[in-house]
Amino acid sequence: MSATAAQSVPSAPDARRNVSLRLGQLRTVIALSLRIARQGKRLWILALVALLPAVPPLIFLLTSVLFPKERTFGVGAMEFFKGTIGTVYLHVVLYVLALVYGLAVISDEVEGKTLVHLLLRPIPRWVVVVGKFLTAWLITALLLVGSLTLTYALSWGVEKDPGAWKHAFAYSNLRILLLDSSVLLFALAAYLAFFTCVGAWFRHGERFGVVFCFGWESLITYLPAKLKWLTLKYHVQTLFPHSVATARFFSLRGKPLSETTCIAILLATIVVFLALAVRSLRRREIR
């Protein structure tokens, strides 16, 4: 076939220094991963999980429409929204999305025995990891942004004044929505990178992930001094434009880290754990 190959098919360009080729391969990995994810059940199940925070304000809205005299929630829309961010999004939705999708970035290919199709192509391992990581982030980011927007809109139903929804479009409120969304998307990337690494190195990362999210991340933040710096949640909480900390009492000791430092730590988390995932793929053997 070499003879025919030389005649009819121009050989693909030398990739070693060809950035555009690598970007093309990265796009292909993303397109392939999106095609596969689009038709999986996981997407729809997690879409329902992502919509959970919108359920309480929706119920309140429906009851206030059906029983207008019972409209006594007692908090404002923004207060309700910020509270939902600090509780349901930060402690449940973020973890579930990152855990499920992050662990699956590499392990889906391993368990589905399809990784061989990628490893037999002339693509660097980092293209595989980064491509699949970006796909996972894109999907979860879409779910998260959709859920946040819906929850924000429905939160205005908790206001006593039925006409208060007009404030939903006020710059100061939209700014909080935008900043909160940005912080959560950034946090999502960090958690996804962490779980991508866990999924690449360990066969059953789920148990570790659950212990990490609902054990380590939750308990350590309640401990004094600098131990909480070892959690991702601490750095994420620092970046919110409003208070979402759950253990302010214990946070009194020690000088808090600056926003810049927290951003740097989260960025480093993304880079380091993705690099470790790439290393795992380089060492991996296909039997």
């Binding site: 076939m1 098919v9 095609r35 596969i36 025995k113 037999l120 296909i286």
Partner: protein, 314 residues
Amino acid sequence: MSAPVVFDDVAKWYGEVLGINGVTAQLGPGVTGLLGPNGAGKSTLLKVATGLLRPNRGRVEILGSDPRRDIEIHRRVGFCHDGEDFYDTLSGLDFLRFSLRLNGFGIRQADQLAREALEIVGLADQAHKRVGAYSKGMRQRLKLGQTVAHKPDLILLDEPLAGMDPVGRHRTLELIRQWGEAGCVVVVSSHILHEIDTLTNNIMMLSHGRLLAEGDIHEVRDLLSEHPHQIYIECADPRALSRHLIALEEVQKINFERQRRGIMLETFQPDLLYQQLARVVVEERIEIELMTSPDDNVQAVFDYLTHGRTEESD
């Protein structure tokens, strides 16, 4: 200049289980049959060759590069592995397009090459069907398609005929022969020896992870000096023929095959015996109906080699 495929004292084991051990061989252009029973180490050797497995010892060189270090060699290598798993939600055409895009081909070229590959393996009419709905034979053909779609110089096929119907087998064997004739280095593994027998004389035989023999099957057979060669002859009067042949010093033994009007000769000097046989047949005007060498084939050589090994280990 080194051969396209070089194994130098290659060993691979999985924990305490031996995959291959001390394999040293060089493979050149044309078709080479990689033979051995299940568990002999054929798949392990091919996976080591493609970099999917890291050898515990020894050196592997594929097209001048180490396959674990140089990912670019995958542009020139096609591997039909033993797995059957695909991205089931994709169509056959889309799977090949994605594979070719990952190889660095542009959209149009990838589409063209993917369609060509499907045509070659006889899946053109199933191009838009989901791979999940493909039969085992169709999956095997799709795997073959992804192996050659990018027109590689080195083609490694691990049991490529598994799960195929007789027509698919025939077609695939013909394709493999063509690729070999076109100058590609083609390595075909199989545990069904007669499949390889029809394809090539060039073989590598593995058993229990060790390389038993390598090279031309007839040369390998000649080296097995402790086993006499067998020649089977059918003719109108086998008794008359045997009377003339028994006097020849090259003949070790003659057995009568009563059911088929034939005789089985055994000799340690097949070349000389064939000359004498020709003389006898011409002089005595004996009409030969059939003449074959039942043990000058892959199966017989393999049986001799593994039988000897079994006896040694006993």
